[in-house]
């Protein structure tokens, strides 16, 4: 079989599964007894095995198979999870990863796995003296016990288990077609259609593929998950013509397991996937994704340019929608109006999807950190916990792609320089285990990523001494430098405070690269530290190219958008509330004197309604400074796509960009930071 066309998919999915394996193994280390985690690892290993066997990567398949066996043993409490095991298991996954990488770069994915496989088998055998070699154990297919389903794999069992817990019934349905039935395939199809209305078909014998191709005598069996009663199912199936008999029996997973356990030892069950047809496997895969919570999402890769084009085209569509709306309201045709309204609803859903498509949870970057930190900590003989908060924070894809490396640098720095050795920590009265917290959150137009450690903190004097020694600043400058700035010195190039140069970091390259990368993304980095208690590295990134919430306001029929992030509140004040201080108009806003700024003056709009008795104002902030912007009227809040004015007009005063409104018009986005001095 030519599988090359599936190679990309295979690599993508393998990477996903390996990611799951890493993640779950680390979780398992924390909760060794947790069955759900073990199940998940088992599933990931199992799928990986099936995929690699199909693709013909035998080493990969063998190793995953061995890994799977270990987890099978763990699952049935034949082996207890110990932390020493985790190390080996992580190494195993490292090897898997190396193999997949080799495949991705055009290799055969072969690797010498005998050593690691032997160790894995030792784990598996260690507590199972009766058990012979798990790998060579291929029992002859056993006779049917109480039913025809001897080949249920783990996906299917877990689905059945879960459905049972949720109050569904599991049935084994055996359908006998009439001997003279001509179109068996069509009848099977009709039966399946009936069954799919009743519930979900988990498995069929013979496989769906064989059934479709009429590769069966006249009987076939199905495992069905349904809420309906046995008799009802029977009745409904019988309505399909040319059916001889229908037998519906309850199917019990426990019974199945028991009867299987008697015959199958350790690996017997697991041999099945290879023998099953591919269709069957992919079917169980899809069922798995639908019905098992926490299952991984399927993804495809799309060129970001295509998304941009899609977005622009969609905006064109929105313009025409606006015109249609206009026309339909002029024509007052009910049918037309209804259709246009429907279209408006659908297109606004579509808009949301397109807008969010570019956004990726930061988890994509974060997920690889736990094992990185774990490995680093192990190499340095430190005991470190990495806590991740806000992994679901969404960021624009372009930013996600860039932000990984800087965070790696900062984490390495925290592990190496931040957290002290165990002995030192105990000496200083701290818990032996150090904690690094990686936290991401949205705030206004920015995403913040904070890396906090409870380590030694930054020694100010040492930093200053070093900086002076390296000629970064003079002693006189050093005296007046504020604390914050001192910490930021460590981001300068050619700077390293570590006394010893280690492998991990401390060569004086790194932190300046971090600073450059973040600044090139339009963000900034700040450092806070307290000697003996740890440091916080805080990265602020703009949400460029992303959606922002704005308040649309009107100034003489011109529409402007003010980012909600900078707005404190809106108000309507009467003329006598406007006071004068030093020839400047101010208002009293909740006890604070706030300067009044007329946006029309700033934007040179002709001022027409000077003498209104009430004025609409928008209170905006910059840091802790406030200002009240005078506008003609508020239009409302809206989510818009931030667009640049183009390089030709890049430096326009008090305008930070533009956006295209639903009617196709361009509205300018007010940069309130520039207005507040």
């Amino acid at each position: 079989m030519d599988t090359s066309q599936y190679l990309d998919v295979f690599i993508d999915e393998s990477n996903e599964h390996i990611e799951v394996l890493y993640q779950k193994l680390l979780e398992l280390e924390k909760n060794p007894g947790e069955k759900a985690i073990i199940e998940e690892i088992f599933r990931a290993a199992h799928t990986l095995k099936g995929m690699s066997a199909t693709m013909g990567f035998s080493d990969l398949a063998t190793l995953t198979h061995t890994l799977e066996n270990v987890f099978d043993a763990i699952r049935y409490d034949k082996v207890q999870v110990q932390s020493s095991m985790i190390d080996l298991l992580v190494d195993t996954v490292d090897s898997l990863n190396a193999m997949v990488e080799d495949i991705a770069s055009g290799g055969k994915g072969s690797l010498n796995i005998t050593e690691i496989a032997k160790q894995l088998e030792a784990i598996e055998k260690g507590t199972m003296p009766v058990q012979s070699d798990g790998l060579t154990n291929d029992n002859v297919q056993k006779e049917t016990i109480s039913n025809v389903f001897t080949q249920l794999d783990e996906f299917e069992l877990s689905i059945l288990n879960e459905s049972h817990e949720r109050g569904f019934h599991n049935y084994e349905v055996t359908v006998q077609l009439r001997e003279d039935c001509l179109l068996k395939g069509a009848r099977v199809f009709m039966v399946f259609e009936v069954l799919e209305q009743l519930g979900e078909v988990i498995k069929s014998v013979p496989s769906v593929n064989d059934l479709e191709e009429e590769n069966f005598e006249s009987t076939f069996s199905i495992i069905l998950v349904s809420k309906n009663e046995e008799t009802e199912i029977e009745e409904k199936i019988k309505k399909v013509s040319e059916i001889d008999s229908v037998v519906v029996n309850a199917f019990s997973v426990n019974q199945y397991r028991e009867s299987m356990a008697q015959q199958e030892v350790a690996s017997g069950i697991l041999e099945i996937v290879e023998t099953n047809t591919e269709e069957n496997k992919s079917k169980s895969n899809t069922v798995d994704h639908d019905s098992i919570k926490g299952a991984h999402q399927k993804t495809i890769r799309v060129n970001i340019e295509k998304l941009d084009i899609l977005m622009n085209l969609f905006e064109e569509l929105i313009i025409d929608r606006g015109r249609l709306e206009q026309i339909s309201s002029d024509l007052r045709n009910n049918d037309l109006q209804e259709t246009v309204e429907r279209m408006a609803r659908v297109s606004s859903d579509l808009q949301n999807i397109i807008l969010t498509m570019r956004m990726v949870p930061i988890d994509h970057v974060f997920s690889r950190f736990p094992r990185m930190v774990r490995k680093l900590a192990r190499d340095l003989h430190k005991n470190i916990d990495l806590e991740i908060i806000g992994a679901d924070t969404e960021l624009d894809r372009t930013v996600i792609d860039e932000i990984g490396d800087p965070i790696v640098h900062l984490l390495r720095n925290a592990v190496d320089h931040g957290i002290e050795t165990k002995e030192e920590r105990i000496k200083n009265g701290k818990p032996e285990k150090g904690t690094i917290t990686l936290k991401a959150y949205h705030s206004g137009n920015h995403v913040f990523i904070e890396i906090t450690d409870d380590g030694a903190g930054i020694n100010k004097d040492k930093v200053l001494k070093k900086a002076i020694g390296n000629g970064l600043l003079t002693e006189r400058e050093a005296e007046t430098l504020p604390e914050q700035k001192i910490y930021e010195l460590i981001l300068e190039s050619g700077f390293s405070t570590a006394d010893k140069i280690s492998d991990i970091s401390g060569r004086g390259v790194g932190l300046d690269v971090v600073k450059n990368t973040i600044e090139s993304l339009g963000g900034n980095i700040s450092i806070n530290s307290s000697l003996g208690n740890g440091s916080v590295f805080s990265i602020q990134l703009p949400l460029t190219l992303t959606i922002i919430s704005v308040l649309l306001v009107e100034l003489n029929q011109e529409k402007y958008a003010i980012p909600l992030s900078s707005i404190i509140e809106t108000a309507i004040i009467s003329k006598d509330q406007i006071l004068s201080a030093h020839h400047k108009r101010v208002i009293d806003f909740r006890g604070k004197v706030v300067p009044l700024i007329d946006l029309k003056e700033i934007f040179n709009c002709p001022n027409t309604n000077e003498d209104e008795s009430y004025t609409s104002i928008v209170i905006v902030k910059k840091g802790d400074k406030l200002a009240a912007l005078v506008v003609d009227s508020f239009i409302g809040q809206q989510e818009v796509v931030l667009k640049s004015l183009g390089s030709y007009l890049s430096n326009t005063f008090a305008i930070s960009g533009a956006t295209i409104l639903g009617d196709g018009q361009v509205a300018l986005i007010v940069d309130s930071n520039a207005i507040i001095k």
Binding site: M311, N312, L313, F314, E315, E316, I319, E558, I602, F603, N604, C605, K643, S644, L645, G646, S647, Y648, L649, N651, T652, F653, A654, I655, A658, I660, G664, Q665, V666, A667, L668
Partner: protein, 157 residues
Amino acid sequence: MSNELVTENKVIVFQLKDEEFAVSVQQVGGIERMVTITRVPNTADFVKGVINLRGVVTPIIDLRTRLGIEESPYNESTRIIIVNLEEMEVGLIVDAANDVMDIPSTVIEPAPEVIGAVNADYIDGVAKLDNRLLILLDLKKVLTNEEIGELKMVEGQ
């Protein structure tokens, strides 16, 4: 030029007042009819604002104002010529887009010292074809940012 090789330049010809101008087709991204322009405050007076060009916010320059020709109201024949220069995409408002034609390089002459009201700085050359006189615009000069920067400084105090 001593080089006898005749190369042809394909140009878009457009009208400003009673003169015909030309820009190379390679620099032209499209010709649009007038649409609503959103004014951008605090910019040079020839910057009319921005438009939504199929989802891209595109700055628009009134070429009459830019070249020092008196303004006239826009009408049915008014067009926006979208030009690309390096990274910039800018729309130029012209009275009418007349033609696409090939100009042999032999008929192109360097800009004369003074030509009507147009500041000779923006002129790449002049092409004489039959009875038509085409002024080849130097877009780079037309779109130079320095001048805009200066104007901005003057305006914004």
